[in-house]
């Protein structure tokens, strides 16, 4: 896919988060911007802001008066569904509609419901590891991490697990194919919607105990959910849950492949894994969201105008030394960790309990299977766009 904008000339005034250099160099770039220009701007995508401090990211996340969630993925020419519902409730919804659309999904993702999925997640991880056999080098991202969230969400939605690769492709197109021609981008959405519609129809005919049937039977404001709403929520769960969690698992494994002392410590004491995971989520947070300006407002001295895009880089906020001690170090036993990897305020990630479960079990099983491994390349490829994570992590396991 080729960019319609061309190479970046200046990262403070012409940045492009969808150019590969952005995710490759993000931590250094944020550090530089914090010192020189804490709110970067670009004319790309019809005008986009990038605040990089913890203070400003927090302020915008809580400010639903001046900012709308109508669209949370920056793109040049989205045909936007109107506020307050948006195309994929609740992530694209604003108050007051947002509250009810969110409340509908919360029970399925509440801690005690998610705990019940642990045996399935563990079986899946063990199965993937068993399949890797006895090669010298395996790809911890592409051959392991990538397959975990996609299979888990297929199980929860009651979609055919064999199709995991198919909807994986859709998600890739939607998240990474941002600065491509409109035609190409619309095609990606149409393919995704068609696929989901087929699955939904199949559930209308054969209802069963899964999330899709649950949505079909749900009501909002006393009315059954429209098919549009059901499709939107499913598309959201696919898009929100897959690349994000894959990225988080891959970043954690990349860290362990390059920090033998941390790896050995977790192998010796797996009870530290939950604490380490919070630190990986802080230091390598995968998700940057976006907002659109709803009412003109000045933020950090910058005049934000109606319909401007504003990126919300939670990952940059998480490494701001104004908010965290030793912010640029990864301390796997960091006890106080108020990180923002899952966002803040009314849109807090609904899948956070599931993502944490997948991340913990994925790391536990990987370390149990391969107590010793090291990075087998000096060049790691990164994702492109608002979800940041390494796409290939080849590791030598013997």
């Amino acid at each position: 896919m080729t960019s319609i904008y061309g190479p970046v000339t200046d990262w403070a005034t012409d940045f492009d988060h969808a150019e590969p250099e952005y995710n490759e160099n993000a931590p250094a770039l944020w550090a530089e911007l914090r010192e020189t220009c804490p709110v970067a701007h670009t004319d790309r995508y019809n005008g986009t802001w990038l605040p990089v401090t913890h203070e400003l990211v927090t302020q915008i996340a809580y400010d639903t008066e001046h900012f709308t969630s109508r669209s949370v993925i920056v793109s040049p020419f989205e045909q936007l569904a109107p506020a307050p519902i948006g195309g994929a409730p609740p992530i694209t919804s604003d108050p007051p509609f947002h509250h009810d659309a969110r409340r509908l999904l919360l029970p399925a993702f509440a801690p005690k419901k998610i705990e019940q999925w642990e045996p399935d997640v563990r079986t899946l991880c063990k199965g993937l590891l068993a399949e890797l056999g006895d090669a010298d080098v395996i790809d911890a991202a592409a051959q392991y991490a990538q397959h975990i969230p996609v299979n888990v969400i297929a199980l929860m939605l009651g979609f055919p697990v064999e199709d995991a690769d198919i909807f994986f492709g859709f998600v890739h197109d939607v998240i990474e194919g941002i600065n491509v021609e409109l035609e190409q981008r619309m095609q990606a959405f149409i393919r995704l919607d068609d696929y989901v519609d087929r699955q939904v129809r199949e559930h209308v005919e054969n209802p069963r105990d899964d999330l899709t049937t649950f949505l079909l039977n749900s009501t909002i404001f006393g009315e059954p959910l429209g098919l549009e709403h059901v499709r939107g929520s499913i598309v959201l769960l696919l898009i929100a849950g897959i690349d994000t969690t894959w990225s988080a698992i891959s970043s954690s494994l990349l860290h362990l492949a390059t920090h033998p002392e941390d790896r050995e410590r977790l192998v010796a004491d797996p009870s530290l894994i939950p604490t380490a995971i919070e630190e990986f989520l802080r230091a390598y947070a995968p998700v940057t969201m976006a907002r659109m300006v709803k009412e003109d407002v000045e933020i950090g001295g910058c005049p934000m105008k109606v319909d401007d895009w504003v990126l919300l880089p939670f990952p940059a906020a998480n490494v701001d030394p104004a908010a965290f001690d030793r912010a640029d170090e990864v301390l796997i036993d960091r006890a106080e960790n108020r990180h923002l990897a899952f966002g803040l305020g009314i849109h807090r990630c609904i899948g956070s309990n599931l993502a944490r479960l997948e991340l913990r079990v994925a790391i536990e099983e990987f370390l149990a299977h391969y107590p010793r491994f090291e990075l087998a390349t000096d060049k790691v490829t990164w994702s492109v766009g608002q979800i940041r994570g390494p796409r290939t992590v080849p590791v030598r396991i013997r």
Partner: protein, 72 residues
Amino acid sequence: MRVLLDLERCQGHNRCYALAPEIFDVDDYGIAVLLDDGEVPPGLEDKAMLAIANCPEFAISLADSTNAGTAS
């Protein structure tokens, strides 16, 4: 020692319940619930402080010791 929970702020990040299940529970929507009205069982003061320090929404605080009864 007693903790307070601000339900206006709680968004269900579930850090409190994960770190200090003796003090916090969660409801069917994943929103925090205080067990025993926030009273911290003796010996678990550190866990209470850990929950406070890890809540991303600053929804948990320490009850003022002057109206928290006899501090243990």
